[in-house]
């Protein structure tokens, strides 16, 4: 059904990689803007959701990098509102996931997104270590990554007071299994990465 499915565009374009990885074609978007109109964070984004798709559609030199460098892809909450209302049934959240992974892989993460990224990484670390999330561990790890040492110092005691923070992590028996899962996925990801064009190469005219 997707336009690009029938007429493949230049195979090295990011839009093509999006299609391969997510099955979503950015060319189905006809720029009505309904996604942006309903997006909870559109106002805070550097590119509105429909503009992210527009950049991918046009794909002139530099545009793909703009997308991967954008803050928008990191602000996306994957709340699925856009997808639910899109007249052309574009699964934008799926695309955003892919773009974030690429942005990270190509080292193009927006400076302002580092906190978000740091949180996600701290989150995953915590799971890799314990198999489950250890909130205190998470928060402190996050603080160390971001140096937001004072943020939420007012919240933590509240939690503690209400017996919501367990200072010791709940390790699970399958810790090792989970760690192995992480290792394998990381490896698979790196493997896939080799097939991804490096941005600088892709940008060469």
């Amino acid at each position: 059904m997707s336009a690009s499915a029938q007429h493949p565009t230049h195979p090295e374009t990011l839009s093509e990689h999006v299609q391969d990885a997510t099955g979503e074609s950015v060319f189905n978007c006809y720029q009505c803007g309904k996604c942006t109109a309903g997006c909870p964070l559109a106002a805070e984004m550097d590119f509105a959701p429909n503009q992210i798709l527009r950049l991918l559609q046009l794909g002139l030199p530099g545009m793909e990098e703009e997308v991967l460098k954008s803050l928008s892809i990191w602000l996306c909450l994957t709340c699925e509102t856009c997808a639910a209302r899109c007249p052309q049934e574009v699964e934008l959240p799926k695309i955003m996931d892919y773009l974030r992974q690429q942005s990270l892989k190509r080292g193009l993460v927006h400076p302002k997104a580092r906190d978000i990224l740091a949180f996600h990484q701290a989150f995953l670390d915590s799971i890799r270590k314990n198999g489950r999330l250890h909130e205190v561990g998470l928060i402190s790890a996050y603080k160390l990554r971001t140096f937001h040492l004072l943020q939420d110092v007012l919240v933590a005691p509240k939690l503690l007071a209400r017996g919501k923070l367990s200072l010791l992590p709940h390790g699970i028996a399958g810790k090792a299994d989970v760690a192995r899962i992480f290792a394998k996925c990381a490896a698979a990801d790196a493997e896939a990465g080799r097939h991804e064009p490096q941005t600088d190469k892709a940008e060469q005219p």
Partner: protein, 300 residues
């Protein structure tokens, strides 16, 4: 009935009262929760943001363990976990190759045969199973039922019928004597994953939700998701600061509201753990029998 149970990480920490209240109402409502042995974290937003495979493998391990434990149905109270597990199950069922790949990663056989249920699915079952008669102290309050994102979206995974104006939670609460208000932010996003990393944005989004609920005269916001609860309850000070108006409306888990209606003690339901104190106006109980209106749009 016996139901598999995957609490998820937050129900062991910041959302422990959700866990407590579920454990408390379960026996009264006649279902038994059997926890998935040695379950792990579903990976949440972080995983599918950073590594697609991981985002499937972590939930897959949980599903695999559930299958091993012979659980046919699995209650996942946290909507964030629910959507991860449901999405993974959906992909596993429809993609043979992926299924093989993933089970080799998690070193466990996985088929996706265990059905994933969210809290509304289970409560709806109880509702049709005489919940109304078990009410001791009708929860006679105006409530704003807040569904958030993952109980209604994406549509193919959600059990709610009207994606833009779901009624399932409203119907259940009517049964226990509550009066759901018709409000505008039932399915708006609270800011979820950015709670810690972009508290400002979250305060903005959650603020709108709390404000609308209060403006419509709701006495409590009812949620079914720890993340929503954190943002609406724990982040209340940030919200107050953002909107320059104090809001005292408490945020209860649906299980807590029902628990109260069943006559269970506030403490057993973990109400004391909330950041915003749960003060509900006393009603001359038993309140006049609120007839169960058919769910559907009402002109406001």
């Amino acid at each position: 009935m016996k139901v598999g149970f995957f609490p998820g990480c937050s129900l062991e920490g910041s959302a422990r009262e959700y866990n407590e209240s579920l454990q408390a109402i379960a026996p009264v409502l006649g279902f038994e929760l059997s926890e998935v042995p040695d379950w792990n974290c579903c990976g949440a937003t972080a995983a599918h943001t950073l590594n697609h495979k991981l985002a499937l493998a972590l939930p897959a391990r949980i599903l695999a363990l559930a299958e091993k434990a012979g659980l046919t149905e699995l209650l996942v109270p946290c909507s964030a976990c629910y959507t991860r597990l449901a999405a993974t199950r959906d992909e596993l069922i429809h993609d043979e190759a992926l299924r093989r790949d993933i089970s080799s990663i998690i070193e466990l056989p996985v088929t996706g045969r265990t059905k994933v249920l969210n809290v509304l699915d289970v409560l709806a079952a109880c509702a049709s199973d005489g919940l109304k008669d078990k009410v001791r102290k009708p929860f006679a309050h105006k409530v704003a039922c807040y569904y958030g994102c993952y109980l209604t979206r994406p549509e193919k995974l959600a059990s709610c019928k009207r994606a833009e104006d779901p009624q399932e939670m409203d119907d259940i609460l009517r049964l226990v004597g509550a009066e759901p208000v018709d409000w505008a932010f039932k399915v708006e996003c609270c800011g979820a994953g950015l709670s810690v990393s972009r508290t400002g944005s979250v305060a903005e989004l959650s603020g709108r939700i709390v404000a609308d609920a209060a403006d419509r005269g709701a006495e409590a916001i009812i949620v079914a998701c720890p993340m929503c609860h954190t943002n609406l309850d724990l982040r209340r000070d940030a919200i107050t600061e953002k909107r320059q108006t104090p809001y005292s409306i408490p945020v209860l888990y649906v299980s807590q509201a029902i628990g109260l209606a069943l006559g269970l003690s506030p403490r057993s339901l973990g109400l004391h753990r909330h950041h915003v104190p749960v003060r509900l106006p006393e009603r001359p109980a038993p309140s006049p029998e609120p007839a169960l209106q058919p769910s559907g749009p009402k002109e406001d």
